[in-house]
Subunit: 288 residues, 2 copies
């Protein structure tokens, strides 16, 4: 089947309407384009669930801060379309910024508390931008299911909360992080790295595994675990600047002092031009 490319809200709605009329259910994979194997795994999941799969490709300006990389963010439309088609997506929705935010637009969605820490602390307004654009995409496409990556753990938790609180009749699926062979989480921002920075960037996953192994061996003190991760990063990514290292409750993102239940270990590190994030979910009841 050929991928349908839709540049307008009207055209994607028409494509979805036709699919519904043909008895299909609809899956959505919201992306900012520059698609890689991580995105492909989300498309695979939606297609595998039998959905008419809509990949949205939109670099959303409202989720970038004024000093962030909106202008530099890689746009690779043709390659993205090829990847969508190769993985069995039915339609790609690639709207213009003016179609999504016409003059006079002034509505935003806020999820309290969950957006204050971790990435929210250093990216004020970021999650309002994410929630608002995802709500718009939900209303434009009207999917039955939506697919997000665990790599953006806080985003997934915030969007799950938004979808529940606003009663979107959509099942949210969070798919495992896809990694390079050396453990680095796939990200469009990895291409900002020089060869040397790229080698150092493996320390993010290294630090997460270090903490996970210590927890598996019985460590419970979050402060000591964070210190060990910070030390690992200093040794293996000397050019990195830590934004945060945190052990948090995966339900409400509150800080954990003692690890005695499931914990989300998350970190953000600036390496050169790239702000990289990664995380691991760890359950201390899965002892080694």
């Amino acid at each position: 089947m050929t991928l349908q490319r839709c540049d307008t809200i009207e055209s994607i709605r028409g494509a979805v309407r036709a699919a519904r009329a043909a008895g299909r259910t609809i899956g959505i994979v919201p992306t900012m384009g520059n698609l890689h194997a991580g995105h492909a795994s989300l498309i695979d999941a939606s297609v595998g669930d039998g959905h008419f799969t809509v990949v949205t490709i939109f670099v959303n300006p409202t989720q970038f801060g004024p000093t962030e990389d909106l202008a530099a963010y890689p746009r690779t439309g043709e390659a993205d379309l090829a990847l969508c088609e190769a993985h069995g997506a039915a339609a790609a929705f690639m709207p213009a910024v003016e179609a999504m935010y016409p003059p006079g637009a002034r509505t935003s969605i806020h999820v309290a508390a969950l957006t204050e820490g971790l990435c929210g602390a250093s990216r004020p307004g970021h999650f309002d931008g994410v929630c608002t654009v995802v709500a718009k995409l939900f209303n434009i496409v009207g999917p039955d299911a939506a697919y997000f990556g665990q790599k953006d753990a806080q985003q997934a938790i915030v969007l799950r909360r938004m979808a529940k609180d606003l009663d979107f009749p959509i099942a949210l699926h969070v798919c495992p992080t896809v990694r390079e062979a050396d453990g680095l989480a796939m990200s469009s921002r990895n291409q900002y790295l020089t060869a040397d920075q790229r080698r150092q960037a493996t320390a993010l996953h290294g630090a997460l595994r270090l903490a996970a192994e210590r927890i598996a061996r019985g460590s419970t003190g979050a402060a000591a675990l964070e210190a060990a991760m910070r030390e690992h990063l200093a040794a293996h990514a000397p050019d990195g600047t830590v934004d945060y290292i945190a052990l948090v409750n995966p339900e409400d993102l509150t800080c954990v002092q003692d690890v005695n239940g499931p914990v989300l270990i998350a970190l953000a590190v600036k390496v050169g031009r790239a702000r990289l994030i990664d995380n691991l979910m760890v359950d201390p009841r899965d002892r080694l």
Copy 2:
């Protein structure tokens, strides 16, 4: 046809799903209950447009301020159901507060600028509460069309903006204010009035008509028109306390200095326990 009473999100979704399967389109009339002829006109409009009409009856706590009349707001469920049925509504959705706001709910919708003046100035957070609950109701019911009253003019303008900005695939209809024989706009809060306050309350519509007539005769200065309305209220509603009197652009609710195009004349007056609002749309090109 018998009215279906639905107390849960699942049951109203089931009723709507069955109606859709039978080829019906869906209209929604969001209300806080205590239904009067104003609400009935909205139901009539939806039924008249051929929709399977869902009346939602929910006194939404998040749109009341801490000192407002949430506890006192009249709840008249059985009479409301009778009115719905008499006017041909197909279903009434009457959820519990806990079903709409379960523990942990923390998402809100904000429409900037439009919510700052008029009622927004004296009711901080009110329109966030309105937008959030209406978005929830839209997602629960999934209507094709929604019906609101012109009496709540700012609410209608804010919701129209929200629906457009978030791409809800729903047509919004704003229906004319329904008035008592003496001109008082229908409102659940009218029943808070004593007999004497009720007589004074007709001064709201009187002041609006005074301004409309002067505009029709060629007056254009907003300040003088507002002063004349204030004088009319002082003379005819001596127990009233003006919250605001405003002439605003009906598109963006910015204040108008000179009336040379369509203008929304709006006011809010506290009379006894009741905070009453009313408005008129006036176009000076419709000269007497």
